[in-house]
């Protein structure tokens, strides 16, 4: 390709378009004037003006998780970049592909404490998969190409590019769209055949096989392979929080979500199985809890992950497989299809059936004795929304009520902050989700505390016409912390009460959104219909009890079969 002479800002925009970027979430600033001058009225690159950089990062993150494509966010130097940090850490922890562009002071001023200077490169190093500080305009094409390549391959993650003002304004002669990459970056994706064969044999001979599906299934789009394998084997399937939606949760082989706030029988199944195939999960402490001897004690443990550093990190395994889970599943299926007869598992299938219906009945039973308003609202939502609707969540009880009671049927429709647990994530993530899937309904299941952390971006929704619906489980408390104070700190409710402000309906209206308050779960459907029909972004304030608790749970220090608060569970 012939060399072209362009300003740095033009090179950036040309390369973004070449990478297929259609939308970026950002806020401009002094050092980004050159870039925003080029972005002005771009047809092919939509820019959405956010009201806080943290939201720009979360929106790019939500966009990425829903679309499977790399999300892009932009922030100016100094405070713009530091405001991004939470959002970057969040996306990187959950392996969401995001490229962040930040402005930087002119190269000659770097290190002088110039106006709005922050060392973005060093600040963001530990919260990104990789980052760049570009010193010369002519380096831009290669850097941008590599940023997208690194963010979207291997274990996906965040790549940040720090762009000094002069690098953007200077003109350079460059070859656009280079293809060269880093010599040392070879995202290992082909699983080892010997290991997949061994896995197939273990699974075929197992009497009680179980599959643990993590977020890797969703990011590698391997839901179909997962389902085929489960059905072929007669294996149960449990998911992690990040894996929610990897298989329809009403599938007869699915036992729901495992872990600290998981479903009782998902955890039991992990304890009872004799072969556990863990796919694209990192065995986080919220999954395994603390008594590792209760975690699959009788099982041959097989772990497939794209990141070699995750194997044997948190959990010692018997058969490690490094590679893309989709490819590994394909290989395992091929080995198994060659087998004539797959072991007699009727006893296990009967057990799975029993466990599946025990949890599912509870999730579907709207007026179950002892239900709290919080779980009833979520059950209602689960019934009202169609299978394609996208749910995002904030963090706290609201998140765990959603994870526990919202029945997810499809991948990429349940978007939550898993690793970092970031309050304020759900709403801006919903903005990104709606931009990625404008034809789908997008609902943020929020907590009152979380929503207040990022609610200023209601302005973005109104101005850019992004009609998401925020459903607040309004308990006027930092409920999850309160729950722990109630259960483990003698009911000393230290600094968890949020008082009476704001009036969320008026808050919505002040921004030009639709707002409605509901006090009874049976009124939710009407309110939601009003919200969707208004065509506006909306806030639905669902009044719930401050004493509502998300149970059962594994108490701190406990193990996977040591759940407390199981009194209301059906025991099978």
């Amino acid at each position: 390709m012939a060399k072209v002479k362009l300003s740095g800002a033009k090179i950036v925009v040309e390369e973004l378009k070449d990478e297929g970027v259609e939308v970026a979430f950002g806020i401009p600033g002094g050092v980004l004037l050159d870039l925003y001058d080029v972005i002005y009225k771009q047809e092919a690159l939509r820019h959405i003006l956010m009201r806080h950089e943290q939201c720009a990062a979360h929106a790019a993150d939500g966009y990425a998780r829903v679309s499977g494509r790399t999300g892009v966010c932009i922030a100016t130097s100094g405070p713009g970049a530091t405001n991004l940090v939470t959002g970057l850490a969040n996306a990187n922890m959950d392996s969401a592909p995001v490229v962040a562009l930040t402005g930087q002071v002119v190269t000659s001023a770097i290190g002088t404490n110039a106006f709005q200077e922050a060392s973005t490169f060093t600040i963001t190093m530990p919260v990104t998969k990789h980052n760049f500080l570009v010193k010369r305009t002519e380096d831009l094409p290669k850097v941008i190409h590599n940023a997208f390549y690194i963010a979207s391959t291997g274990r996906k993650g965040v790549v940040l590019i720090d762009l000094p003002k002069d690098v953007l304004s200077d003109v350079a002669e460059v070859d656009l769209h280079p293809k060269e990459t880093f010599a040392g970056y070879k995202p290992n994706i082909k699983p080892n055949k010997v290991q997949t064969k061994k896995t197939a044999e273990v699974l075929a001979n197992a009497e009680r096989p179980l599959i643990l599906a993590g977020g890797g299934i969703i990011s590698s789009d391997a839901s179909e392979e997962l389902r085929s394998l489960a059905e072929l084997l007669g294996a149960g399937v449990v998911t992690t929080l990040m894996g929610k939606g990897a298989i329809p949760e009403n599938h007869p082989l699915c036992l729901g979500m495992a872990g600290m706030h998981g479903h009782l029988y998902a955890n039991r199944a992990i304890n009872e199985c004799d072969a556990l195939l863990a796919l694209g999960t990192r065995f986080s402490d919220r999954l395994t809890a603390w008594q590792l001897d209760q975690f699959a004690p009788d099982a041959t443990l097989i772990h497939v992950d794209i990141d070699a550093a995750e194997i044997n990190k948190n959990m010692p395994v018997d058969i490690p497989i490094v590679g893309d889970v989709k490819l590994a599943l394909y290989d395992i299926l091929k080995w198994l299809e060659k087998k004539q007869k797959l072991g007699g598992k009727s006893v296990w299938l009967q057990r799975i059936k029993e466990m599946h219906s025990a949890c599912e009945e509870c999730i579907h039973d709207l007026r179950r004795a002892g239900s709290s308003l919080s779980d009833m609202f979520i059950k209602e939502l689960s019934i009202i929304l169609d299978d394609d609707a996208i749910v995002t969540t904030e963090v706290g009880q609201c998140q765990m009520f959603a994870a526990h009671y919202y029945m997810t049927k499809k991948p990429r429709t349940f978007i939550t902050s898993g690793g970092l647990g970031t309050m304020g994530f759900g709403f801006p993530a919903a903005i990104g989700a709606k931009v990625a899937a404008p034809d789908k309904k997008v609902v943020d299941i929020a907590g009152d505390g979380s929503f207040l952390m990022t609610c200023q971006d209601l302005a973005t929704c109104v101005e850019s016409d992004i009609p998401v619906v925020v459903c607040i489980l309004d308990n006027r408390y930092l409920g999850m912390v309160r729950q722990w104070q109630e259960l483990f700190f003698d009911k000393k409710y230290s600094h968890t009460g949020l008082g009476l402000t704001p009036d969320f309906v008026k808050l919505a209206e002040a921004f030009g959104c639709y707002g409605e308050r509901v006090e009874k779960p049976e009124d939710l459907e009407g309110a939601l219909n009003n919200a969707f029909e208004s065509g506006k972004p909306a806030v639905i304030d669902m009044i719930v009890g401050k004493d509502d608790k998300i149970l059962p749970m594994i108490p701190p220090g406990g193990g996977i079969i040591g759940m407390i608060g199981t009194e209301r569970c059906k025991h099978v």
Binding site: F121, T122, M125, P126, K129, H130, L133, K135, I150, F182, A183, G184, Y185, D307, A308, A309, I311, N312, K313
Partner: protein, 159 residues
């Protein structure tokens, strides 16, 4: 606990050392020695890292290092009988001429060089494998080590 030496080829980019040391800090890994130097290929540098830990900790470190984008090659120098060197400069107190003579004789027997001498001290250079340097330094402590400098390890595999 064992010490392992990992030799790396890394892209010669600004910040690559920060990234490497940041990763060690982030993962709670203590390194005994880290050296960076040019190597035979333009655009790449060689890093030699010595780390103490259990077998499984060391395995984790190795994988985390391999995950860094700018790391081109990781060689574990534990297995093959690598040649390992450290350079040590030390200033030893010599209170009288007898001591000076004794220090110089010991230095000679270790293959160390006398770089400078004054009436009350000598400066000695010793390039050796680290264990031998440790022993020499211990010996010199007996006379009084005023200053000690070590460069950290560098190592090369035999094949």
């Amino acid at each position: 606990m064992q010490t392992r030496i990992i030799s790396l080829l890394v892209e010669d980019h600004p910040g690559v050392l920060t990234r490497m040391s940041g990763m060690f800090t982030m993962r709670g890994i203590n390194i005994t020695s880290l050296t960076v130097s040019p190597c035979e290929t333009d655009g790449l540098s060689r890093m030699t890292v010595a780390i103490k830990g259990t077998e499984s900790e060391l395995e984790k470190v190795r994988k985390q290092i391999g995950n860094l984008i700018e790391v081109v090659k990781v060689v574990d120098l534990r297995a093959d009988g690598a040649i390992i060197r450290d350079l040590c400069l030390l200033k030893v107190h010599t209170k009288d001429s007898d001591t000076r003579l004794e220090v110089m004789l010991l230095a000679e027997s270790y293959g160390a060089k006398i770089m400078d001498a004054t009436l009350d001290s000598v400066i000695i250079e010793l390039t050796e494998e680290p264990g031998k340097i440790d022993r020499f330094v211990d010996l010199m402590q007996h006379f009084g080590v005023k200053q000690l400098f070590r460069t950290g390890l560098t190592a090369i595999g035999r094949d």
